[in-house]
């Protein structure tokens, strides 16, 4: 079986959970003998070749490049810089284009690629690739699966969605043969907001990396030596992620326990707003902005923290608590997250319930046994959340569509 896959980002480029998920799933599909042609919009380094290509890697994973700088989490009208060509001196000619334009361009390329390649199924990840998936379906007549990692409603954290993204979502879902969501939470959004028939939507929870990590020397040692506890937020600083609720909870916590330091690791369009908020609430001494942390720095921070908080307002899945667990740190997560459906061993709170969030933070610092147990039992539970299991489900979906086509 051969699958033509469209994606927007892929490790090791520094992006969010989308690339990580595409990587994890693709690798396991290949392990199961499925040939994956992974189409990305832009030439980039890719991870895993050395690991999953083996001798037949080149044949299995074919990269087709276009020339876009990705940025999938932006609104449709936000722009990206694109190299459209080179001048006589060899310097790149840079133009700004909107993500929407890029998604359309990607679709244009996709219809050509679909004619060049031979494959059985089309699989498109995230909204920026939906049009490409639809174009490939129109060009080839092959069945189309759309993989929903997020919706316009998550990004807006409200009903005030970007109409042009919603339009793409709605039309593409109608065109798709199957829609895969990363959680029941997201499936519900599709059914309620996009009016997709429930039977057309399959839930495939993301997997996670369960390998024992490399243990680094912790950071913030001087704070820890002073007996300070470290509470970590890791992720984009945007309205969807609920960092403002995290800061409000911090205020409540510090009122009863001044020996707590809150670390915000990330980047995003709300950063200035959050920095102002921290100042206004008199929390400057208690909140550290660590900037965007990647790889070893990020792991080190996970390992240093006593507790991680994922305060998302609307989180289709949410890899952060699983990454944290892998590094031995328990989490508080919001009930408005997909990962809450599969992770029992975390504290769960409504994003707006700042008081309860603060209660959970202080209580889990007071009674350390709860943190020990969430880590020990949570790690055990994570063993059942492999990408292999996700890939099994995806393969079943492929097969069901092939049967449908041939019969």
């Amino acid at each position: 079986m051969r699958v033509l896959t469209f994606g927007w980002e892929f490790p090791p480029s520094k992006n969010g959970g989308l690339g990580v998920a595409c990587y994890g799933l693709t690798q396991q599909l290949i392990n199961k003998g499925i040939e994956v042609i992974f189409v990305l919009p832009k030439t980039q380094e890719t991870r895993g070749n050395a690991r999953f290509v083996f001798a037949d890697q080149e044949r299995l994973l074919k990269m087709v490049h276009t020339d876009v700088t990705p940025g999938p989490y932006n609104q449709a009208k936000s722009t990206v810089d694109v190299i459209v060509g080179y001048d006589k001196a060899g310097n790149p000619i840079v133009k700004s284009r909107s993500i929407l334009e890029e998604a359309h361009r990607f679709a244009h390329h996709a219809s050509f690629i679909a004619k060049e390649e031979e494959f059985d199924v089309i699989h498109a990840h995230d909204w920026t690739s939906y049009l490409a998936g639809v174009a490939a379906k129109l060009a080839s007549g092959k069945p189309l699966i759309l993989h929903v990692h997020a919706t316009s409603f998550d990004q807006a954290a409200s009903d005030n969605v970007d109409p042009s993204i919603y339009k793409i979502e709605k039309e593409a879902f109608d065109m798709a043969d199957k829609v895969v969501t990363v959680s029941g939470f997201t499936k519900e959004i599709l059914v309620k907001k996009h009016h997709v028939p429930a039977e057309k939507v399959e839930v495939v929870h993301n997997g996670c990396d369960t390998e024992e990590p490399i243990w680094h020397t912790p950071v913030l040692q001087n704070l820890k030596n002073q007996g300070k506890k470290i509470i970590l937020y890791h992720g984009r600083i945007s309205i969807q992620k609920g960092v403002d609720y995290f800061v409000k909870a911090a205020r409540r916590v510090v009122d009863v326990d001044p020996d707590v330091v809150f670390v915000i690791s990330g980047w995003g369009d709300m950063k200035t707003q959050v920095i102002d908020m921290v100042g206004e609430m008199g929390l400057s001494k208690h909140v550290l902005f660590a900037g965007a942390l990647w790889e070893e720095d990020r792991d080190r921070m996970y390992q240093t923290a006593d507790l991680v908080v994922m305060p998302s307002v609307s989180e289709p899945f949410g890899l952060v608590p699983l990454e944290a667990l892998q590094h031995g740190t328990p989490s508080i997560i919001t009930k408005q997250s997909g990962v809450a459906e599969v992770l029992t061993h975390a504290l769960k709170v409504d994003f707006w319930d700042v008081d309860e969030m603060a209660n959970q933070i202080v209580s889990s610092l007071r009674y350390p046994v709860i943190r020990q147990q969430m880590v020990r039992e949570g790690k055990e539970q994570m063993k059942g959340m492999s990408w292999q299991r996700a890939a099994d489900k995806v393969r079943q979906i492929y097969q069901s569509l092939l049967q449908y086509v041939t019969s």
Binding site: R252, V256, V342, T344, H345, A346, L347, K348, D355, E356, A358, N359, Q360, V362, S363, S364, R366, Y367, P368, V369, I370, Q372, Q373, M374, R376, E377, E380, Q381, G384
Partner: protein, 468 residues
């Protein structure tokens, strides 16, 4: 002759409200949730009264009136009796009517439905005595057969019961300890000389308590005639069929629409159709039959789930932490001699609190295997530990005040007249003596090897320890 010994256990805990860390030091009401949800104790008692207690008692009274041979046993936790008095006095009256027939026996139990026997025998004894006083006061009877929380049982518990004058004790008739033998006879607990153990026939008991309404079950729908046949088939290979179950099986665990009340209504008649079949209370049973062998249970046996042990209450770290934290406080709590504090501490010992913290099967995603009013075991633990922290604070304040008073003046006790200071004098002083008496035969307290770990927990490093 084959007799049936039915026993129904009546219990409701005082559930702890979502008590937040910010409430510590400012709110001493842990059980007064008024949300109208499953954490609202009044709401629950009223709901279960309507679904189970009232209709079931009507049927039981009817049966007692109709069949002079009909007999059964009840046990009550003190916490459910207190809640009946407060929220549903008519339910209590209907139970009193049943007992007044003289054909309904009440069993001994701990007042607070606790696991105290396994943590502190002196405290256990105080709770059993308090329970006995309550039963005497409400029903005018003195229990002679003992059953422990969740039917938990061990050889040394049987020995304790024998030493304290009980004629019988109840336990699960578990294959691991019975081997090829039948639960339908009486046995002698290992290490005992007089007391007899009544073993639950779990197959026949659970057919009613767990399987009755299950449409996937081979024998669904079960009617009383078939069930009576199953019991009659034990003629010749048994003397007593012991059917032990939660009282709430009728109407609450098995809803009315399963036909459970009709089943109950016709069961005695179907059983009595066989000329050689009758009913006996627990005391009648132990007085009628001799033991046929020894029942040797060195480890804790309960009637819970497939493991029949205490892991649903003590299986994980947070459960053990909470249990150890509460029993660690015993000495200080008793030293307050403050009735309200002691009672609150005991309400927090009710086993249900620890059950709500169970994570035994949560890895399978089977979170509904255990009933809990909390959204997660961790929420249950946090509410419990915060309430306990507040209690700890109150205990240390009272103890400090008491010491101060004793040090500064030689005021005699009579002058301490504030309501909070009123003490169940006989109870507390008696208990101090008991402690000295019982301690030597006590199994080594688990507290000792936990000491170090406990000391490292900030929660236990309360101001109180600093002041000592």
């Amino acid at each position: 002759m084959l007799t049936v010994c039915p026993y129904f256990h009546v219990h409701q805990p005082y559930r702890v409200k979502p008590y937040r860390v910010f409430d510590i030091g400012s709110d001493d009401q842990y059980f007064n949730d008024q949300s109208g949800t499953d954490l609202d104790n009044r709401f629950i008692v009223e709901k279960v009264a309507e679904k189970s207690y009232r209709p079931t008692n009507r049927v039981l009274k009817e049966l007692l009136d109709r069949h002079p041979e009909f007999r059964f046993n009840l046990s009550f936790s003190g916490t459910v009796l207190d809640q009946f008095e407060a929220y549903a006095p008519d339910v209590l009256e209907s139970f009193q009517e049943l007992v007044a027939t003289g054909r309904v026996e009440i069993l001994a139990d701990t007042y607070h439905h606790s696991l105290a026997f396994f943590y502190s025998v002196p405290e256990f004894k105080r709770q059993v005595e308090k329970h006995e006083r309550k039963i005497k006061k409400l029903f005018g009877v003195k229990p002679r057969v003992f059953r422990n929380t969740e039917l938990s049982y061990r050889n040394d518990l049987a020995k304790w019961c024998e030493d304290n004058g009980y004629l019988g004790i109840m336990a699960e008739g578990w294959d691991k300890y019975l081997g090829w033998r039948s639960p339908n006879y009486l046995y002698r607990p290992a290490g005992c000389k007089k007391i007899k153990v009544l073993l639950k026939n779990y197959k026949l008991s659970d057919d009613i308590a767990f399987r009755f309404g299950n449409k996937e079950w081979d024998s669904w729908p079960l009617n009383a005639e078939t069930y009576a046949d199953w019991i009659h088939s034990h003629h010749g290979d048994g003397e007593t069929v012991n059917l032990f179950m939660d009282y709430e099986s009728f109407g609450e665990h098995q809803w009315e629409d399963t036909g459970i009340f009709d089943f109950l209504r016709s069961l005695p008649e179907m059983l009595l159709r066989h000329p050689d079949t009758g009913f006996k209370t627990a005391t009648e049973t132990v007085q009628s039959y001799d033991v046929t062998g020894e029942y040797d249970v060195p480890d804790v046996l309960t009637w819970a789930d497939t493991d029949r042990d205490l892991t649903a209450w003590t299986g994980n770290d947070i459960q053990r932490d909470a249990l150890n934290a509460i029993y660690y406080m015993e000495k200080d709590v008793m030293a307050t001699k403050n009735r309200s504090i002691i009672e609150t501490w005991r309400k927090l010992q009710t086993s249900d609190h620890f059950y709500y913290m169970c994570t035994k099967w949560s890895n399978d995603g089977d979170v509904h295997a255990y009933f809990s009013p909390y959204q997660s075991p961790y929420d249950a633990y946090i509410a419990f530990m915060n309430a306990l922290s507040d209690l700890q604070l109150r205990v240390s304040q009272v103890v400090a005040e008491r010491r101060e008073k004793e040090a500064s003046t030689e005021t005699p006790h009579e002058t301490m007249t504030s309501e909070e200071e009123v003490v169940e004098t006989e109870n507390v002083e008696e208990s101090v003596q008991i402690e000295q008496k019982v301690n030597p035969v006590n199994p080594p307290s688990p507290r000792k090897w936990w000491q170090k770990i406990l000391d490292s927990i900030p929660f236990l490093k309360s101001p109180q320890q600093g002041e000592v």
